[in-house]
Symmetry: C2
Subunit: 147 residues, 2 copies
């Protein structure tokens, strides 16, 4: 897609946040691209684990928090490979040995994931508080319908 869109700087945003100008119909400035990659349950974890070095399939599976199924690891890692984020090396030994590692592209994503994690960690209390407040208020609202 040629990103030939006009920048409609709507109005003066009072804060210093980046004004996201987006009027591409199908792919909101490409956010969908990366979200599709990060959106599934496991991709990020694979990237994170691979960030520290080369790993074999089984080892990768073991290290992923929460226990990814073999099937999902295969799918995830294949998708990542297809997108050029992960490099897969097969050694024709017996038993077979396959190593996974991040490509440069994959490594560049690591920073982003780190930011994501940082934000998440930093604001987790806020989110938790917001949820509690919301749920509490919602519970008040609810008629509770006793008996």
């Amino acid at each position: 897609m040629s990103a030939g869109h006009t920048a409609v700087t709507t109005s003066g945003t009072t804060t210093d946040e980046p004004v996201i100008v987006c009027e591409t119909p199908q792919d909101e400035c490409g956010v969908r691209d990366v979200l599709d990659r990060l959106g599934d349950k496991w991709s990020v974890y694979v990237v994170v684990e691979l960030a520290s070095g080369v790993l074999r399939f089984k080892e990768l599976q073991r290290r992923i928090h929460g226990g990814i199924s073999q099937r999902m690891l295969t799918l995830t890692v294949r998708r990542l490979e297809r997108d050029g984020l992960v490099k897969r090396t097969v050694y024709p030994t017996v038993p077979p040995q396959v190593e996974y590692e991040l490509t440069d592209l994959g490594h560049s994503l690591t920073h982003l994931v780190k930011s994501l994690a940082d934000w998440s960690i930093a604001h987790r209390p806020d989110i938790a508080a917001a949820r509690e407040a919301y749920d509490g208020k919602a519970a008040q609202e609810e008629p509770a319908a006793a008996g």
Copy 2:
């Protein structure tokens, strides 16, 4: 994503809230938090649209390209509200008017989304190339099954 593991703290304190037990030294801890929020199809778009200012329900819906359904917009916006990322203001008029805007927390996420978009835009060609290469190679590998 599901509310999957109902956090079994080591002390045996079984709480209701999804406490993320994470003893991994890596920064993966907490990534799920934000990914759960951004992982669904629409949250990011809502945040993006709201980044530029206050919007009403219908207007928000119209601006999200690709056409979000009314149902999904409601769900998305509610979740965002619950997490303290979006503020919802109801004006008791006729017809009803509801305005959505980012909270400070939501605005802080905007930076991240921006980074996401930037990365995506910057590396889209790489990803596209990688895919083409991968698919091409995969096609070669395929037996082609001549009849």
